[in-house]
Amino acid sequence: MTVSYLKMEGIAKFFPGVQALKDVTFEAAKGEILGLIGANGAGKSTLMNILGGNLQPNAGRILIDGKEVCIDSPTAAANHGIAFVHQEMAMLPTMSITDTMYISSYPYKRGLIDYKKIHQNCRSVLKRLGCNFDPREKIRNISPGDQQMVEIGRALLHNPQIIIFDEPTSSLTLREKDHLFDVIRSLKNEGAVIIYISHFLDEVFNLCDRVMVLRNGETVGGGQLSDYTYNDIVKMMIGSKEIDTYYSRSEHSTGEEIMRVEGLSRTGIIHDISFSLNKGEVLGIWGQLGSGRTEVARALVGLDPIDSGMIFINIDGSMTPVKQSETKKYIGMITENRRKEGLLLPMSVKNNMSLANLPKLTKKSIPFVIDPKLENSQVEKFVSRMEIKISSPSQRVETLSGGNQQKVIIGRWLQKNPLIYIMDEPTRGLDVGAKADIRRIISELAEQGAGILVISSEIEEIMSISDRYIVMKRGGIVNEFGGKVTREELVAAATGALTEKE
């Protein structure tokens, strides 16, 4: 039996309207990786924010190495050797990597920031993470995966003894992920306490030694991972509710063409993208991070400029060329970056949910005036359809859990019900139950005649819902597959093992 280095005891946290944590107790020992799991809104981030000094508990105490400690700020947490890799990255795009990593702890030498020293430190920390970029590089010039590495590097700067990872893998490529796991294992071997939050249970099984499951702010179980099966864990997370986490779409036919893209190009980013999408069809865009898949999605709705190309949309039965700036009228877009482009953070769940659909929520008698009854009923309908966990529709969206924020964005588009959906990582941050539910929703939307473009980093996910695939590499389409493709073929096409399509 190992001695526990960290103990959180009887932790409770109230937020106005919800009790996020009720009497949570757990221990973690040095040299072990503790998986912290639970459904969306279970209280994982809240618990870790308490440990990280971002939130104060209403009850309970924290012991480190047997001594009770008071963690009243992130600085205090850092002084106790606690480091936190956050779920939502807060990056400053115009700052250098070094500045991002040292923003809260610049070392000074004779009153000046000692850049020479910190560049060096950054380089060595990044090297440990297997990244070889120049620490003077600006954040906006590196990929989201590398940004995540910088965030992790920042956490490692001060040799922490307790390291919290809150869903760190969502924007990493397979290679980066494997590498991160190696790093985490080596930190473990060096004797750190690691707390790992993830909705990817296979990652948890692969990486963690012990697990703790939270449900509705309470500990519902935990112990050595080897004592549990995948299904045990899911049952603990979700409770009695029976869910099918392996949703897979049945074969079905698709209708007439709904969108056609011809020769979409932007120098250096994407080139000559042409494809068509039919009614009732789910088209998966598969490719590695950085293959241009997100850029194609963004170009289609005018978020990124294009140099050439045409977009046709089936408007009232005929394929009509639509200006790039006008396509948003017909396309519902779920972007990868939910905090920046998906949400009005300080605003209410209600405002966020009706954002795309306002002109249709007006009173019949008076134009332009929003009908509060209609709006409320629509919001309620989609909050319950998406099973979003909120205390009231006026709750500010920034106080929702990560997964519930994502559900708000999806609910917004379901309410608007556009012809075409583009979903870039639609299930990022969702728990296993919600993920399956989104797949079911996507399938239903297709059955109702929508055309859907899905981008996902999870091959199982994209394979469980897509009717057809286009595979992207280095900004171009390299292959197209029908529904019968195998996993190996997809992976090979994206990494370039197959011969490229002419």
Binding site: F15, G17, L345, M347, L355, L358, P359, L361, F368
Partner: protein, 332 residues
Amino acid sequence: MNLHNSGISQLFSKQGASNTHELYLNWTRYLPYIVLIVVFIAVSFVVPYFLTVPNILSVLLQTSSLAVLAIGQAAVLILGGIDLSMPGVMALGAIFGAMYMESGGNSVIGGLVMILVPTTLGFINGVSISYFNMIPFVVTMAMQAITIGAATMITNQISIPVSQNFCDAILKKVIGIPLPIIIMLVVALCSQFVMTKTYFGRWLYSAGTSIPTSKVSGIPTKRVVLAAYTFAGMMGGVAAIIMTSRLYAASPQMGKDSVAMDIIASAAVGGVSTMGGVGTALNAVVGAIIITLISNVMNMANVSYYLTLVIKGLIIIAFVAIDANSRRKLSR
């Protein structure tokens, strides 16, 4: 009308004020009303007969043009922008209108000119900011320089008198209340209605909170920006009419830079956030009343013009600090 609302999320929720957690987090939205009451009480101690109907009407009459300007500014601030050109734009509108009437033009058209010129200038601000991606601060500061420069050149610093008829028509009393006060109330109520009850209003708050999110959600953000600056210009025009009538003349003095400070101070003190997304037209009116009262008191106490500037500047900073601080707490 729901007077204690300034946070938009509350305006649209039934729970609104009864939702305890919003109340607890958002106490600062009552601040303007508390300040208004405190200032009122303070002034009524200092000034005898302050709380009489004629006196209050005269304060409101004094407030009317500033309030209308502050409402225009509020729309732009909610959007996350700023309009420093309102005084100059207003002065230039007033001068063109007055010149038109002086040369024998009809007063109705003269009034229209006073509104249309500032509206056009606001439209130009809006186009520069939305379609040419220029920075609001720079564009409107340049516009203030251009308009005030032009106004001074055209008039040679001599004010242009307007006809008694025009002034009498505008200052006429309706059921004992001077018309400018009624104009102020009508403008305030209409703006309040558009801001809080229509989807244009919702678009304004959304764009002020996050342009990228609004864009992705299909909101025509460029047009929203354009509309807000054009509206601000138009409010400059309405204020031009009220001011000209009260001064019986149009003059470049109306547009001095320090007026912009009064306008922004009114909005900020009233509870319109200078960081976008929060505030309503009524907030702007409350702020304008507070600023007018403070100016009056300082006038009576013979505080020098320069000290007055210092005090108003401090007031702006204090309120912006409170706003920023409450936001920081909210995002915890």
